[in-house]
Amino acid sequence: MRLLTHNMLSCNIKGVTNGFPLAIEATTVETKEVDMNPDFLRHIFPKLEWKAFRDASHSLGVDDLPEQVDPDMLLDEEFLRRFHHALLEVHLEEGVLICPETGRRFPVSKGIPNMLLNEDEV
C-alpha cells in the first residue's frame, strides 16, 4: 500500500465522526522505484491532506518532507523527488491502520489494506 492509498482511507464504523487519518503501525516497509511524473504530482497535490500524508510518511521512516508546502515548491526538482518517493515508492507491506477515534485496527497484508467491517460495525 502506497501512501497515496493511505491518504484516501478513513474508518467508517457507524457513528465514527473522526475516522481520518488512520494511524500506521508498520511491520514491513518496502521501497519500489518507479519513474517520476511531475505532472501527476502537481495534479494530485491539491487533493492530498498534506498533514496526514506527512505524518504517515514519518510512520514509515521517511522524515524529509516539509511541514508546510508552498505551491511554488512544486516547481522544485529536489522537493518533487522527495514528494514522489514518499507518495509512490514507499510501500507498507505488512502492518495495521488504526482508527484515531475507536482504535479499530484494519490489517494491511501483502501490501493490501482490508477495510471490511464486521456486521455489528456497519
Binding site: 478513513s10 467508517n12 481520518f20 511524473n37 505532472d39 493490501i112 482490508n114 477495510m115 471490511l116 467491517l117
Partner: protein, 283 residues
C-alpha cells in the same frame, strides 16, 4: 480490427437477430487497432476469483467504444468497484494511456481479498499502476471519494440467487445477486450520487433479469441520464452495459453523447403513449 473479425465469426456461427446487433455495434464501435487492453494470458488466476468472461469483455468493449469521450473528459480519478481478476481496471488504465506521464489516478476495490491480490498481479503484468483496497463497495473510501470519481465502472454480481447466497465468501460473491440479481446493484445505485463528480460517468453491467429499464428509471429519479452502450446475447444471458451521467435539468437530454434513454425521451414517450391511449379510448 481484431474485434471486427471476431464479430464476423460470431455472426457466421449463429443466425439469431441478436448476433446482427452485435455485428452492427462492433462495426460502429470498432476501436483503433492501436488501442491496447489487458491481455487475457497475462491476467492473474486464482480458484476463488472470477476469470474474465463475456460480461468483462462487454464492459471493456463499452470503454473502448467511448475512448474518445473518456479522453476528452480528462479524468482525474477512475474507480472500479468489484475488480475481480483486474482485467477491466487494467484495460481502462491502458485505454487511458496509463504510463509514466499519465495524470490519471486509478483505484480498484473488491470484497474478496483473493480478487484484490489477483488484480495486483494483473496490473503488474501489464506494468500499470493502480491503488487497490479490500472493501465492501467503497467502504473506508467514501469520505475522500465524495463527488470526485470521474469514471466509475461496476460489473456487479448480477445473477438472481436466493438472498442468503449474496456476499458469502468465495467465488459466489462474484456472481450471487439475490432477488432479481439486484441486491448489490441497488446498494451501488444508492451511493452513485455521492461518488460521481459533476462530469462523472458510471458504467454498469446488467442482464435482462435485473430489469435494466427499471435501473435507468431509478437513476433518472436521481438526476442521471442513461444509455445502453453495449447489448450482447450469449448462450446463457442477455448482457447490457449501461452508461449514466448527470444532467442538471431532469428534462435535458443533452449528455456527453446522444442518449437513447434520457429523461426527456422518456417523458415524450410517456406523453405520446398517453395521447395514444386517449385516442384509443375515444374510439
Amino acid at each position: 480490427m481484431d474485434n471486427l473479425i471476431v464479430c464476423l465469426i460470431e455472426a457466421k456461427d449463429t443466425t439469431t437477430v441478436h448476433s446482427k446487433i452485435v455485428l452492427t455495434s462492433a462495426l460502429f464501435f470498432a476501436p483503433s487497432p492501436r488501442t491496447r487492453i489487458a491481455e487475457v494470458r497475462l491476467v492473474g488466476r486464482h480458484p476463488e476469483v472470477y476469470e474474465p468472461c463475456d460480461d468483462s469483455f462487454a464492459l471493456v468493449d463499452a470503454l473502448l467504444a467511448d475512448k474518445a469521450q473518456l479522453e476528452e473528459l480528462k479524468p482525474s480519478l477512475c474507480l472500479e468497484v468489484g475488480c475481480g481478476s483486474g482485467y477491466v481496471i487494467t484495460s481502462l488504465a491502458l485505454i487511458l494511456g496509463n504510463c509514466s506521464n499519465s495524470e490519471v489516478q486509478f483505484l480498484a476495490t473488491d470484497v474478496s481479498e483473493a480478487a484484490v491480490h489477483t488484480t495486483c498481479s494483473t496490473l503488474a503484468a501489464h506494468h500499470v499502476n493502480a491503488e487497490v483496497v479490500v472493501a465492501d463497495l467503497v467502504s473506508g473510501l467514501e469520505k475522500r471519494l465524495d463527488k470526485v470519481v470521474d469514471v466509475l465502472v461496476f460489473n456487479p454480481p448480477y445473477v438472481p440467487t436466493p438472498e442468503h447466497e449474496v456476499g458469502v465468501e468465495g467465488i459466489a460473491s462474484a456472481w450471487a445477486g439475490g432477488d432479481r440479481g439486484r441486491m448489490v446493484i441497488d446498494r451501488m445505485l444508492s451511493i452513485i450520487d455521492s461518488l460521481l463528480s459533476s462530469k462523472g460517468i458510471f458504467y454498469l453491467v446488467a442482464v435482462t433479469e435485473n430489469n435494466p429499464g427499471e435501473i435507468c428509471q431509478v437513476m433518472r429519479c436521481k438526476g442521471f441520464a442513461s444509455r445502453i452502450v453495449v447489448q450482447r446475447h450469449t448462450d446463457e444471458e442477455s448482457l447490457h452495459v449501461l452508461k449514466f451521467w448527470r444532467v442538471d435539468d431532469p428534462l435535458d437530454q443533452e449528455g456527453p453523447t446522444t442518449p437513447s434513454v434520457s429523461p426527456r425521451t422518456s417523458s415524450l414517450h410517456r406523453t405520446f403513449s398517453q395521447r395514444l391511449a386517449r385516442l384509443v379510448s375515444f374510439k
